[in-house]
Amino acid sequence: MSPGPTTTRAKGGPERWPAAELAQRALRGRIVLIDDDAEILAAVTTLLEFEGYVCDSFSSALDYLRQLEVPRRTLPGPSCVLLDVMMPDLDGLEAQRRLAALDDTPLLLMSGASGVQEAVTAFRAGALDFLIKPIEAETLLEAVEKALAVSRERQSLRERTQAQTRRLAALTPREHDVAVRVAHGKLNRVIGKELGLALRTVKLYRQRCLEKLEARSTADLIRILQEADS
C-alpha cells in the first residue's frame, strides 16, 4: 500500500526533546520502529512516546541499516527493534538476518498477513516476539518492555564481561599462570613446584590476583576465570 503523507514523521523522533528529557527517556528505552507505512510509523511512535520511550522510526529497513554504518554516539540505555515483515524493498525476515549479524539488539517482528511459516522462521532466527497487526497497545507495550529488559540484561552482561577482560589484562604473565592453576584447583605447594616458585611467592601472587580481579574469595576467582574462558 502506498505510504500516507510523510509530513507526520518530522513531528515525532528524538530530535524534538530537550537533552535532559531525551537522556531520561533513553534510559527508559529506545525503540527503533521500521515499517513502510507512514501512518503506522506516526501512530505507533505517538503511542510509545506517550509511554516515555524514545522512538526512532524508519520507513525502510535499508534506511536503518545504512544509518547503522555511520558510527555515531549512541545514548546509554536499553533498545530494541520493532520490524514489519511485509515491506517492499527489504522484507522483515531478511532485515532480521542482517541485523542479527551486526549486533544483539532484541528484535520484535510484526505482521498482518503472515502465516505460521514466517513466524517460525522469525523465532528460529531469534526474534523475541511476533506481533499480529493490528496490535493491541497492551500487547505491544508488554512485548517492548520484555525486549528492553532483555536488552538491559545483555548490556549489563556485556559491561561485566568487558570489565573482567580489562582486569584480566592487568595481570602479569606470572600472576596469570598462578591464577589459572588456582582455578584448576591446584594447591599452592604444587603450583610452586610447577612454576619453580617459593611457596611464599605463590601466596603473594595469589593475593595480588584476588585484588586485581576484585574477587572476594577463591571461589569468586574461579568463576571469573571460567567466565573469561567461555
Binding site: 500500500m1 502506498s2 503506522i40 501512530a43 505517538t46 506517550f50 517492499p88 522484507d91 498482518g112 497497545a137
Partner: protein
C-alpha cells in the same frame, strides 16, 4: 364419381396440405405439394379432352403426370439429402415426352405404345415406394410407412392395368386412361393416403427438429450458466489469491487506527494529552478509516453476483483498477510496470466485472511469470486498431515453450505446480462471449505477451 370431381379433390388436397404445412417453409413439402398439384392438373386436363385438341392435350397430360411423380420422388430424395439435379430432371421429362410422341406417331407399335405410360408410371411409383420405405426404416416414421404402403397399392393397380393391356379380356386392348374403376380408385386412395402420410411425416420431422433445437438451446444455456458460475468461482479463487495482499492492505490502516485510538485513550486517561495532540490523533483515525473503506470498496466491486451486466466498459479504467488490485504484489516482488495508453477512455461493450477478471487473470499470470527473473517488468499497451481495442500485456519472464503455446488457454492445462489451468481458459471464454479474442505469443525482446482484442463500442452509441 366422375374424373372431374376426382380431379378437384386431387387439386384440393395439395392446396390444403400447403396451407397446413407452409409454416415449415420446407422445400421438401413444397416439392411434394407440387407433385400432387401436377397430378391433379393432369387429371383435370384429361377431362377437358373435348375442348382441347388432342395433339396438345395428350402430351400435356402425360408430361404433367410424369413430372408429378418425379416431383414426389424428388421430394423424398431431397428429404434424404440426395436430390436429383433439376436440369437432369427437365431433360428426362423432355426425353420422355419425345419418346411418347414418337410412340404416338408410330402406330405400328400397338400394345407397346399403350403400355409405355403405365410402365413408366410403375417404375416411378416403385421409386416412391423405395424412398418412402427407406425413410420409414430409418426414422421409424408411420407417415413414411403410409406413403410406401399406399404407393405400393397404386403400383399393384398400375400393374393390373399392364396385365389387362397384354391379356385383354375382350381380345382388344383398351386405352389405359378409361380402363377400369379399380385403377382410378386405387390411384385416388394412393394419392390421398400418400398426402396424409406426407403430412404426418412432415409434422414428425418438424417436431423432431423442434425438440432438437430446444434441447440444443437448453444445453447452450446450461453451458453459459455453468461458464458464468465457473467464472464466478474463478473470480473468488482469484480473490483468494490476492487475499493475502488484501489482508496486509486492510491491516495497515487498522494498525494505525488502533494504535492512534489507544494512544489517545491512554493519553487521556493519564491526563497527558493536550488539545492539539487529541485532534491529531483523531485526524489520523479518520484518515486511516477512509483508507480502509477504499480497500473494502475495491473488494466489493470485485465480488458481485455472477450475472453478466452489459454496458460500456472503459478498458483503460479496468486495467488501472486491476493494477491497483495487484499493486501489493507488484511492490512486494519489485516489478516495474509501464502502462502506455492514449489517455482517453477506450470503450468496449460488455460486462465490467468479467472483463476485469480477464485483465486480472492475465496480470496474475504475468506476475507469476516474472517471479524468478532479475529486474522484473510488465509492459502494458492499450491501443485502438481499426474497430478493435487491443490490450497487450507483456512480461519479462522466460516466455513460452513452443510446445506449450498451443495448449495454453485450454481448460486444465497448466505449467504451474499449484495452478488449476483455468485462468486463461476462462479469460478466453469470457472474451469469446464478448466477440473478442486472446492470443499468447513470445514477445520480440523475450518474455510472453498476451494480446486481448475486443470490438470497440460504436462511437456515440448509447452516450446520453
Amino acid at each position: 364419381m366422375s374424373n372431374l370431381n376426382l380431379g378437384l379433390i386431387y387439386l384440393l388436397m395439395p392446396i390444403l396440405m400447403w396451407v397446413v404445412l407452409a409454416r415449415l417453409r420446407s422445400p421438401v413439402v413444397a416439392l411434394w405439394c407440387l407433385g400432387s398439384l401436377l397430378g391433379a392438373g393432369a387429371l383435370l386436363l384429361a377431362e377437358l379432352f373435348a375442348f382441347i385438341p388432342p395433339w396438345i392435350n395428350a402430351p400435356m397430360v402425360n408430361l404433367l403426370e410424369f413430372t408429378s411423380l418425379l416431383s414426389s420422388i424428388q421430394a423424398l430424395r431431397l428429404d434424404q439429402g440426395v436430390p436429383w439435379r433439376f436440369r437432369w430432371m427437365a431433360a428426362v421429362s423432355l426425353g420422355y415426352l419425345v419418346v411418347f410422341e414418337i410412340c404416338r406417331e408410330v402406330y405400328a407399335l400397338g400394345t407397346y405404345r399403350l403400355a409405355l405410360v403405365p410402365l413408366v408410371e410403375l417404375v416411378l411409383v416403385l421409386q416412391v415406394v423405395g424412398w418412402a420405405w427407406r425413410i420409414a426404416r430409418q426414422q421409424k416414421s408411420a407417415g413414411a410407412v403410409t406413403i410406401a404402403g399406399s404407393h405400393l397399392l397404386l403400383s399393384v393397380g398400375v400393374f393390373l392395368v399392364l396385365v389387362q393391356l397384354f391379356f385383354p379380356r375382350g381380345g382388344v386392348p383398351n386405352c389405359p386412361r378409361d380402363s377400369s374403376g379399380l385403377t382410378d380408385t386405387l390411384g385416388m386412395l394412393a394419392s390421398l393416403a400418400g398426402d396424409v402420410g406426407f403430412i404426418g411425416l412432415a409434422l414428425e420431422r418438424s417436431l423432431t427438429q423442434w425438440l432438437d433445437a430446444a434441447s440444443k438451446q437448453a444445453r447452450l444455456e446450461e453451458r453459459q450458466l455453468l461458464g458464468n458460475q465457473l467464472a464466478h468461482l474463478d473470480r473468488q479463487r482469484g480473490f483468494g489469491l490476492v487475499a493475502a495482499s488484501l489482508a496486509h492492505e486492510l491491516n495497515q490502516p487498522l494498525t494505525a487506527i488502533l494504535a492512534s485510538a489507544q494512544a489517545a485513550r491512554r493519553g487521556t486517561a493519564a491526563d497527558r494529552l493536550d488539545r492539539v495532540q487529541s485532534l491529531e490523533l483523531l485526524d489520523k483515525i479518520i484518515l486511516n478509516t477512509r483508507r480502509l473503506s477504499e480497500v473494502t470498496g475495491r473488494i466489493r466491486s470485485f465480488i458481485r453476483p455472477a450475472e453478466p451486466h452489459q454496458g460500456p466498459v472503459d478498458l483503460e479504467k479496468v486495467t488501472r483498477q486491476m493494477l491497483e488490485m495487484v499493486e501489493p504484489d507488484l511492490q512486494h516482488q519489485g516489478v516495474q510496470v509501464a502502462f502506455a495508453a492514449e489517455g482517453s477512455p477506450v470503450l468496449v461493450q460488455g460486462d465490467a466485472i468479467q472483463l476485469s477478471q480477464v485483465v486480472l487473470n492475465v496480470l496474475r499470470n504475468a506476475l507469476e511469470a516474472v517471479q524468478l527473473v532479475p529486474d522484473p517488468f510488465i509492459q502494458i499497451q492499450l491501443n485502438r486498431s481499426a474497430d478493435k481495442a487491443v490490450l497487450s500485456i507483456r512480461d519479462s519472464g522466460p516466455g513460452l515453450d513452443p510446445g506449450q503455446a498451443d495448449r495454453i488457454g485450454t481448460p486444465y492445462f497448466t505449467t504451474k505446480p499449484d495452478g488449476l489451468g483455468l485462468g486463461l481458459s476462462i479469460a478466453t471464454a469470457i472474451l469469446q462471449q464478448h466477440q473478442g479474442s486472446l492470443t499468447l505469443r513470445n514477445a520480440e525482446g523475450g518474455g510472453a505477451c498476451v494480446d486481448i482484442r475486443l470490438p470497440l463500442r460504436a462511437v456515440g452509441g448509447a452516450l446520453p
